[in-house]
Amino acid sequence: MDFISILSIFVLACFVGYYVVWSVTPALHTPLMAVTNAISSVIIVGALIAAAAGGSATSKWLGLVAVALASVNIFGGFAVTARMLAMYEKKERSDA
């Protein structure tokens, strides 16, 4: 992909983000932060490339540490979001 295609994806995604985030109910703003936190750990992709590549040992170890840090975030972020959302879910059932 050339720079312009990438830039197009980025700009369009900003617009999508703008509208999607405004539609999030304020009651779920804390889970929103937790889940955005988890998904921003998609930078693990970069870390994996560094960790997987041969060539530079330093680069590999930096990558591995980054993979571990991003994993904390991915597993922790999704799990804590799920835990919070379950609390909202519970009430819906007891109401019905």
């Binding site: 998904i39 904390v72 009430k91």
Partner: protein, 469 residues
């Protein structure tokens, strides 16, 4: 760029699908009913992104990678399970710092081994565009890291919430930022280590300097802002790697944090710039100190219970103090008892109540308060005039009528909950000394229709529950 152009189509599509999963994950949060499915889509998206990356690269060190994921994942899962809901702001700040650090380490790895990332030209130098993207990614990541560490220390109480104001801080900050931008530009010509690592070090420093002058009351904005930064860091790395999943995610998270910051600033009637400039809540004393001698009405738990039993409708206004006292469960018990006696109970939530967006909603949800009893500021503010009792627990500045009347007040113009319009205001506060986080005295305490309940929030509610039973 040769590697990127050789990427098979299915890989591009897989990353695109991962990106779409992330969009749908956020979309799911538009209602509690769809939110869990959204979260699961987020996990699927992440799994696709990770699996695709591992599938298309020759992996020289699979056991190490799996070990790193296992160690990190275990720490994450245990933390997520153990964390108290009241500590959510600290947790989110800590998680932000990890994203920042991962971005810095990933960027450093890319600098040391650019061939692996496919960002070199024929001569083996990093392409100018990639150099800028890499520099920005590392710088934003470093700012996110050190800023989040400070935010964590402040939220966790390891560091005073009071702003720390250095002399000439605006000059220092702007100078440092300019130096970082300059170094990143220079990095396109000269890729020697000193340029890269100096820019990184300065970025770590600026993250620290930017957050220390910001006071406790502004933490909801800071946490949202750092959320936004972590997104931009991911986007910058996505540009480096030509990876659509990362770019889409970065844009989503970046906008999300920016919008939340905006909502928080609007809820405090402050401009983003003034929050970033910091120093709010640094001055207190003067007017608050002299006001302490003013007469006020003090009541007991029995008085409060009696007043609420006489009421038709009660609106509960929770704030950060409720979180600190862990009073949400007892509060829900009180609400249940009132409802059993035929009294209408609602909860009113100010957008900046607590230390992060939606903080109060999560605590009430944890305590099993049905979410159709919980209302946002604009939906409930007109109801106070018809309410018999407004029950303020651990909130202060967000109820201060001075925000509407007193042009000299630091919080003038901030939208507040009109609690004083209720027939009676019950206000739980630890003691009469000590103002809210904004460092301003609250007019509400001295009004004829206000009864102060001076005690620890949880103890007071427990006593009220006893008196109601």
């Amino acid at each position: 760029m040769h590697e990127a152009s050789a990427t098979p189509a299915w890989v591009l599509i897989a990353y695109l699908i991962a990106g779409i999963c992330f969009i749908l994950a956020l979309r799911g949060l538009s209602s509690p009913a769809t939110s869990q499915r959204g979260n699961r889509l987020g996990m699927i998206g992440m799994a696709i992104a990770v699996a695709t990356t591992l599938a298309i690269h020759e992996i020289a060190s699979l056991p190490e990678i799996l070990a790193a994921i296992a160690i990190g994942g275990a720490i994450g899962l245990v933390t997520a399970r153990r964390i108290q809901m009241t500590a959510m702001p600290q947790l989110v700040a800590a998680f932000h710092s990890l994203v920042g650090m991962a971005a810095v380490l990933g960027g450093a790895a890319a600098y040391l081994n650019p061939e692996a990332f496919g960002i070199v030209d024929a001569a083996g130098a990093i392409l100018p565009v990639s150099a800028v993207e890499l520099g920005l990614g590392v710088a934003i990541g470093a700012i996110t890291f050190s800023g989040s560490v400070i935010a964590f220390l402040k939220l966790n109480g390891n560091m005073s919430g009071a702003p720390i104001l250095l002399p000439l801080r605006h000059v220092i900050n702007l100078g440092t930022l300019a130096a970082i931008v300059g170094l990143i530009a220079y990095f396109t010509f000269d890729q020697s280590p000193w340029v890269f690592f100096t820019a990184m070090a300065l970025a770590f420093a600026i993250g620290f300097l930017l957050i220390i002058p910001i006071g406790g009351a502004d933490m909801p904005v800071v946490v949202s802002m750092l959320n936004s930064y972590s997104g931009w860091a991911a986007a910058a790395m996505g540009f480096t790697l030509h990876n659509s999943a990362m770019i889409i995610t970065g844009a989503l998270v970046g906008s999300s944090g920016a919008i939340l910051s905006y909502i928080m600033c609007r809820a405090m009637n402050r401009s983003f710039i003034s929050v970033i400039a910091g120093g709010f809540g640094a001055v207190s004393g003067g007017p608050a100190a002299e006001a302490i001698d003013r007469p006020y009405k003090r009541g007991s738990a029995e008085d409060a219970a009696f007043l609420m039993q006489q009421a038709d409708s009660v609106i509960i206004v929770p704030g950060y103090g409720m979180a600190v006292a862990q009073a949400q469960h007892t509060l829900r018990e009180m609400g249940d008892m009132l409802k059993k006696q035929g009294i209408r109970v609602k909860y009113a939530i100010h957008p900046v109540a607590g230390r992060m967006p939606g903080h109060m909603n999560v605590l009430l949800a944890e305590a099993n308060v049905p979410y159709d009893e919980v209302f946002e500021l604009e939906d409930i503010n007109s109801d106070f005039a018809q309410a018999d009792v407004a029950f303020v627990i651990g909130a202060n500045d967000v109820t201060n009528p001075a925000a509407k009347t007193d042009k000299t007040s630091p919080i003038y113009g901030m939208p507040v909950l009109d609690v004083e319009k209720a027939r009676t205001v019950l206000f739980i506060k630890r003691s009469m000394g000590g103002a809210g986080y904004a460092g301003v005295d609250n007019e509400l305490f001295y009004r004829d229709n206000t009864m102060m309940l001076l005690s620890d929030a949880k103890k007071m509610v427990e006593e009220i529950v006893k008196a109601l039973g």
